[in-house]
Subunit: 161 residues, 2 copies
């Protein structure tokens, strides 16, 4: 099963639990795969999970520097690449930013609801959406591989401004 963050980003929740669960999952998954979750990678993962707003690579870099780290962009991008490869985070293409994966370890395509106002992102994994797309693609003989689905709109809290 997925952890408690699945699709619940917009609801009230104890976010410390999200972070803790994400780190635990990450540790487990890296263990299974011989991926080395080094201190830096772990720290980057924590920063990505700081809240449900996607965070840019340079924002992460700033945070690290504020903590005394004396590094350059490649360090951050390498950590992000590692986390992406192991399915621990997602890249939000339309924001050039990164967000924690709510279903690490599970096979899934990222489907994101992005609030235009508060910037928070919730992750879906609706098989109906995937099916509809694959069917539609198949009609043109197209073999779908990876889906980028990013829906902009207003989250429940931001609708009554």
């Amino acid at each position: 099963m997925s952890n408690s963050t699945s699709g619940q980003a917009f609801a009230k929740h104890d976010h410390r639990h999200c972070i803790k669960a994400a780190l635990k999952q990450a540790s487990r998954i890296c263990g299974e795969r011989n991926g080395r979750l080094t201190a830096q990678r772990k720290r980057v993962l924590e920063l990505v999970w700081k809240n449900h707003k996607p965070v840019g690579a340079y924002a992460i870099l700033e945070q690290l520097r504020a903590e005394g780290f004396n590094g350059a962009p490649p360090t951050v991008y390498r950590a992000l690449d590692f986390l992406l490869e192991h399915g621990l985070i997602h890249r939000i293409e339309s924001l050039n930013a990164y967000t924690g994966c709510a279903h690490p370890g599970e096979q899934h395509t990222g489907q994101f609801l992005i609030c235009s106002q508060c910037q928070r992102v919730a992750e879906l994994d609706d098989p109906k959406v995937k099916t509809a797309i694959c069917n539609s693609a198949a009609l043109l003989g197209f073999e779908a591989d990876h889906q980028v689905i990013e829906i902009r709109g207003l989250c429940p809290q931001c609708q009554d401004h």
Copy 2:
């Protein structure tokens, strides 16, 4: 009705017809809305429609310069912004690139099939996909506004390499 390019980017077709149709539609739409399809904007639209592969802003700039134009990035981005605003082109977020709109003037959300091998893009507009997403979003109380749907995979021609 949509023009002949709808979803047919992967099939054999006379592409000169696509370009011609796109320009005609653009001219009509701009006329209706008091949008000024200036020479530069028209030229940029032509370059975007040169084939079914999305093209980056700087690639367009290079082309223009090759034609003797002596301009800078803002000129290209302004033309692209104009074309986007009037629904004549789409931006492909996952490629930082732009592609001709197959249904200009019609209300629709862009859904794109992108071939990982030949880079060509076909545009879909499957109401089932839209509906599935909106339903799924509604379950979380999310009010969907704009959809970014970009599917990577292999087009029919590239499947038998």
